[in-house]
Amino acid sequence: MNCFEIKDLHLYYGAFHALKNVSLDIAAKNITAFIGPSGCGKSTFLKTLNRMNDLVEGCVIKGSVQLDGEDIYGGIDLSRLRRRVGMVFQKPNPFPMSVYDNIAFGPRTHGVRKRYELDAIVEGALKDAAIWDEVKDRLKSPALGLSGGQQQRLCIARALAVAPEVLLLDEPTSALDPISTGKIEELLLALRDKYSIIIVTHNMQQAARISDTTVFFLLGEIIEYGETETLFARPANKRTEAYITGRFG
């Protein structure tokens, strides 16, 4: 089953043609990795999946992006879309408030008010993000006091708190040390059964370690995609091979 089905997608930033005729089905309850050199369009494409490019001036999008059969560039409610498709960024960005309020922020926005409901959501999200044991005794402390790796797992918990179907992650470990990176990778592997996970990464070893499917972008186009093991062992395209072997890009 697919979570996203993208057909003939073109994206322009003014005169710059950033995504060229992208068509891709993304499997649900899987980890899909986007790889490619800087400026290849992988982050731009990720952002089209929850309409983060809408506010970019001069951005024009053509083609179709369907989430569970629904066109997200049709009449969909944007707030509902963002609830269904959560996003985590490269740099951890906790809100300047307590650990608890960071997690409760989304559910409150969506109308959850009862304390016991919020408590359950906060605990569940922090447990799912494998950070509960580290923060359960300091839920009222400022989130900005956490380490970088903890902040990033908090941001993942914050995204999970609104029960999304899809989790988008834009280079979520590039600002983290190897220990924190390892914890995030383990976390994503544990979350794979419950969520569809799409990750942009510059780290090809990371894509090989954790993803089920890998998509290689170059100059705004998808050059090749497929099962991760096959793409890394027997890439079909010479440009893919040149990139993953470090001979290009």
């Binding site: 220990i179 390892g182 990778e185 383990e186 090989a208």
Partner: protein
């Protein structure tokens, strides 16, 4: 940290132990077929060789998958590369057990001529060597792996005794030649099993120390 990778390494080790158990059983049954001149047991060893071959392929695929996806380094790298080398020798041991069984099939219909003293001893020693080399891997036991080499000297000495026993038999009566030659081949297969067990033990030492035959590879 790297919980999934650790799980995969544990599964790989378990697979290797399972393959070890299969080859130990194959040698023991081939020996039983020889001693009891039991064609049925001999056939079963030959049929079960396919299980050993497919276990080798399964472990090989797991190792290559780990190298591709987990990019192991340090001890993890030596462990995965050692397993990749060990299974080749283990598969050959399975082949030799099947070879012994195939010869037992031919012997099973013939009149019993003599009981070799040394061949059963070779069988016992080689089973112990194979078990010992796998145990040394599981327990990360360098001394245990080194002891396998010493056992091989005993197997080689027994092989020479077997050869002399069989030459004496042929001297006594030339008509015993075919029978003696089959037994000599069986003795040779046990001797080769001993050599493969030594190879396995050498890769076990490499997995633990990074040294292979006194050469530091890592």
């Amino acid at each position: 940290m790297r919980g999934r990778f650790n799980e995969q390494l544990t599964e790989l080790n378990n697979n290797l132990i399972e393959m070890g158990a299969l080859i130990e059983k194959a040698i023991a049954q081939a020996t039983e077929a020889l001693e009891r001149r039991d064609a049925e047991v001999a056939r079963s060893v030959m049929e079960n060789d396919d299980l050993i071959d497919s276990k080798e392929k399964e472990i090989e695929a797991r190792c290559l998958n780990l190298l591709l996806r987990q990019q192991p380094v340090a001890h993890d790298l030596s462990q995965v590369s050692a397993i990749l080398k060990m299974i080749t020798d283990m598969e050959r041991i399975g082949d030799h057990a099947a070879d012994i069984s195939a010869l037992c099939l031919g012997l099973s219909g013939q009149e019993y001529i003599m009981k070799s003293e040394s061949i059963p001893k070779m069988a016992t020693a080689t089973i112990r060597m194979v078990t010992g080399s796998i145990d040394a891997f599981v327990n990360r036991d360098v001394a245990g792996a080194k002891a396998i080499k010493e056992c091989d000297a005993l197997v080689n000495a027994l092989f020479l005794v077997a050869k002399k026993e069989l030459i004496a038999l042929v001297r006594e009566e030339a008509a015993n030649g075919e029978w003696a030659f089959d037994l000599w081949q069986i003795a040779k297969y046990y001797e080769r099993i001993g050599d493969h067990a030594v190879n396995i033990a050498e890769w076990v030492i490499f997995a633990i120390t990074g040294q292979h035959k006194n050469r530091q590879i890592f």
